[in-house]
């Protein structure tokens, strides 16, 4: 692909895709964080 050896292309494009997926999973798994500290120092 693009004149590159297969392993080089895999590393070059694979890691960005991996980090995109990591970020997406992080974003979806932390939906409850919106409840965090809206009133910091509030009652327990």
């Amino acid at each position: 692909m693009f004149g590159l050896p297969g392993l080089t292309a895999l590393v070059l494009f694979g890691f960005p895709i991996f980090w995109l997926l990591y970020t997406l999973v992080f974003f979806l798994k932390t939906r409850n964080w919106v409840d965090d500290s809206e009133n910091e120092g509030g009652k327990s």
Partner: protein
């Protein structure tokens, strides 16, 4: 060309200084928390951008290009980890560190370590080690600034270096985290704009991505191998792992970077900041290494690999656009240098001078200790950069390896492992730093970052477990860690008072800055 580029650079400096003054007035250091952490009022976009622009230094434009030019596609491993560095940092420790630092009342990342692992030695060792290592890191920024300024102005390297260091120092004296964060935000935009521009222009110049790779194959096909030129790194697994780890997890051990977590507006800020970090990294991080690789074709007679991106900008772009790219390079240098110098000044004045030598230090003392140290660093850095300038790539890799090895387990375990105690933290910090340092100096055939991390993690776990009875983790820390796990507001009774009872000192610092 130089006149047009200079005009752009001057315009850029004026804008940065104007934003800095605006931020100082807007963010106004009403108390110490305001001065050191921007009053913990920094939102997700600015958090992400200050995190990234601080992490990405002049190294990216000089060291990154040099690595690509000399080793070929092997250098992509550094970018491969780096793309995820921001989101890893924010997802692993961001929210929890923000919360724990608030509960413990910590205002600096070194003070935070002492609060979590209560012992004076933690602060002393961490403070001295940080100042020592950050000096070398800022030295690399000085050299990068000097080289860039020499190219733009045509001045000899020595004179250009003096001007570059002078600008960085003056700019840093403006002071305060809020100013640093907002100028970083602007600079991050300039950095990504400049990088995308030079990348696109170079790609067009070399005939496209496939064409440039085919041209490189004619020069030396091993440049295209992921194992690097001449297959020099074939099956060098420890170097490969080290290259990926250094900028993916290593940032979690950088005191001047993790401070960004403590300054977030709220713990939830980490969520969107993680997303913004990844988006920014996708546009910025891989490009310098690829530009270095493209330069193999575009600049076959390049004498200094570190000048690859500077030279590409100078030769391929119209003068006005070169000005933007040069501003981007100076933005990368300055956004890192100001954060480091602020951090070093803070550590020296608060974490070392006031904590160990002069607890009754007044606001005036604190300001002067901070400024004297920054000035000393400037002068010594200038002399070293002038007479014995080391390679930027090697300095940055050395510094970041030692910092990451020393502090990463301490910062991660601080929020994730309740059994992590003071002896474990001290052993981990000292052992990790020494290992990474000795592995580099003795040329041990194992990547220094990897070796350092193995030792620091092992020591943290083994020593903490072995000393649970003699050095149990204090109850108030266990309670704080239990609270950190929860999602929701921190109960009022858990918030420390120490944030606020030092307001007089901060007001003094602010007044002093305004007066000067």
């Amino acid at each position: 060309m130089n006149a047009v580029v200079l005009i752009f650079l001057i315009f850029y400096y004026v804008v940065v200084v104007a934003i800095g003054f605006w931020a100082v007035k807007k963010g106004g250091a009403k108390d110490l928390e305001g001065y050191l952490l921007g009053g913990r009022q920094v939102g997700p976009l600015v958090t992400a951008m200050t995190l990234q622009s601080t992490s990405m230094s002049g190294y990216m434009f000089l060291g990154g290009g040099s690595a690509g030019f000399t080793t070929g596609y092997w250098s992509i491993f550094y970018a491969s980890g780096d793309i995820g560095g921001g989101v890893v940092n924010l997802s692993v420790i961001g929210r929890r560190m923000r919360k724990l630092s608030k509960i413990l009342g910590s205002l600096t990342s070194i003070e935070y370590l002492e609060h979590r692992y209560p012992h004076a030695a933690v602060r002393l060792i961490s403070g001295v080690l940080s100042v020592f290592l950050l000096f070398f890191y800022v030295l690399a920024q000085f050299i990068a600034g000097g080289k860039g300024m020499a190219l733009v102005t045509g001045l000899p390297y020595g004179a250009a270096l003096a001007i570059a260091v002078g600008i960085i120092m003056l700019y840093t004296f403006m002071g305060g985290y809020f100013a640093v964060a907002y100028t970083d935000f602007f600079q991050s935009l300039v950095m990504v704009l400049g990088m995308v521009w030079i990348f696109t222009a170079t790609l067009i110049e070399v005939g496209g991505f496939t064409a440039v790779n085919e041209s490189i194959a004619k020069i030396d096909p091993t440049y295209l191998s992921i194992w690097g030129k001449d297959l020099a790194n074939q099956y060098a697994w420890s170097d490969l792992l080290g290259a990926i780890l250094i900028f993916s997890v290593g940032y979690m051990g950088w005191p001047h970077v993790v401070t960004r977590h403590m300054a977030m507006k709220s713990p939830k800020t980490a969520r969107m900041a993680g997303v913004y970090s990844t988006i920014w990294n996708l546009f910025f991080v891989t490009a310098p290494y690829l530009l270095g690789i493209f330069a193999i074709v575009a600049l076959p007679n390049l004498a200094d690999p570190e000048m690859a991106i500077f030279t590409l900008a100078g030769e391929l772009l119209p003068a006005a656009v070169t000005g933007i790219v040069m501003a981007a390079i100076m933005a990368a240098i300055m956004s890192t240098a100001d954060s480091i110098l602020l951090q070093v000044g803070t550590i020296a004045s608060r974490d070392i001078f006031q904590r160990f030598f002069y607890p009754k230090a007044t606001d005036n003392h604190m300001v002067w200790v901070s400024r004297i140290l920054v000035a000393v660093i400037g002068i010594v850095g200038l002399l070293v950069a002038l007479f014995q300038p080391p390679g930027i790539f090697s300095v940055v890799i050395f510094t970041t390896s030692v910092l990451g090895s020393a502090f990463m387990p301490a910062y991660v375990c601080a929020v994730w492992w309740k059994k992590a105690n003071t002896p474990g933290a001290i052993a981990s910090i000292v052992g990790g730093a020494l290992t990474a340092f000795l592995f580099t100096k003795l040329n041990v055939p194992m990547n220094s970052m990897l070796g350092g991390l193995i030792v620091s993690w092992t020591l943290m776990i083994v020593v903490s477990l072995a000393t649970q009875k003699s050095s149990p983790v204090a109850d108030h820390i266990i309670k704080a860690m239990n609270e950190v796990v929860k999602v929701g507001p921190i109960p009022k009774e858990m918030l420390a008072k120490s944030d606020f009872n030092l307001a007089q000192e901060a007001n003094g610092i602010n007044k002093k800055i305004d007066k000067d």
